[in-house]
Amino acid sequence: MGTLVYIEHDGGVVKKSSLEAVSYAQELGGEVTAVALGSIQEDEWQKVGAAGAAKILHVRDERLDAGNIQAHSAAVAKAFEKAGAETLILAKSSLGDAVAARLAIKLDAGLVSNVVSLPSTDNGFVVKRSIFTGKAFAETTLSTERKILAIKKNTLEIKTDGPEPTVEALEVGLADEDFTYQITGTEKAEGDVLLPEADIVVSGGRGLKGPENWGLIEDLAKALGAATGCSKPVSDMEWRPHHEHVGQTGVKVAPTLYVAVGISGAIQHLAGVNSSKYIVVINKDSEAPFFKAADYGIVGDAFEVVPKLTEAIKAIK
């Protein structure tokens, strides 16, 4: 039984969530092949091998550097057949989800998304997935021969001890029709830690009073090597860009540490952060609901506490 992993990269660097997907595949047993599309930095192969892939199929076609959903799914379908795989593993992402859905039909495979555990196979093929935006889990049986699993971040540790993989160029012969739409431009925050990938996230809410005070959040984030996020009203008021908004209707994060500053902890915000390992809340109101979801907290004025915290963190680094 072979497994194919669809790996995504950001400017040629393989995403951590994709490496996690590779390690997940390795745990399933059987031969693990990864498929990479577009221009990837050569030294990335070793990381993919270390995470657990024995073989990499590289589709060099530069047109795939952009995340065209149809073209990516067509290419991955070809790689799946080429690898003789039975299972496809990928990390949940805005591109991964869209590609996985089309592949479920192309490959006639059963699909489970938001997977948070390795399968148990004692009684059928059963995986645990997160549902109700992290408020619950469902043990789900997948009865099809071919399977696709979209893995939620932080499901397992990325392996680092696998051997050098073999790399093979794969021609998939994409036609113009496979690019059913045109990507006319991209806009991207450069150099920052990507929010959905981040290990530490520092988020600010309406308690920050205005965009001019965001330096407070950014300094703390910098000291921690964190990505920055915000609550919905903050992005609604355009203090921060939309892609930073965390919660039910925004980004769902799963960092090891989530720091919430001046955010009340409305249930819709919590829905985006409930997969965090540790939560720290800084709020001047001791009754703020966020404290009930937190591991650590400070009741105090953010304008006083945050600069001190930033200094204290710098002091130990």
Partner: protein, 245 residues
Amino acid sequence: MNILVCITHVPDTTSRIQFTENNTKFDKTGVQFIIGPYDDYALARAVELRDQTGGKLTVLNVGEAETEPTLRKALAIGADEAIRVNAEPVDSYFVAKQIAHYAKEGDYNLILMGRESIDFNGGMVHGMVGELLGMPSVSPVMKLDVDGDKAKLSREIEGGKEYLEVPLPFIAGCQEPIAEWKIPNMRGIMSARTKPLKVVDAVDAKKSAEVKAYALPPAKGEVKLVDKDNVEELVKLLKNEAKVL
């Protein structure tokens, strides 16, 4: 332009999630059901586009009779007609097959859905329907303007966005800020009562994923509060206890 909007009937975002029958059934007691928030964005944009270009706006839900008030609400918000595919929406493939089947009958120029349902959060149905119908599928879409036989969109990607031009017909999974949620007015509510709501049978489709049991996350322990004048204590806890620094 004829537009199809697919909506889910889901627990309100503030609902407490609980299960019964030995954790095999979702407990609907006291739960208020709403149009999925992302579907609500899709519907709001569809109403605007229909008003601009004319044509018919149809809403569709795959669900049992209990979802009809949700469909009526969509009619009150501005849809012209509703279709309910009478079946329990058990898995995304099954739902996608139903939508694809009835979408083919309707000859729509545009099919809008939510980025994801908020019960099962798959974010999968639009892509499946796209593949089943051989149409492009794009998600999550933040902006959508129709210009003749193509549309200009922006799609959210990790850390930014992408701008696209997509030929009609296609399928989009929508999210904010594509449009502002619309609240039904009195006239809308009155007219919704007489707008057509058609109930149709489900077509045969396999169900590949089945839930065996539900579970709730373990309860969170008590928060450890640190004095605001002693932030060093918090740093110590994060370093030595949580081991995250």
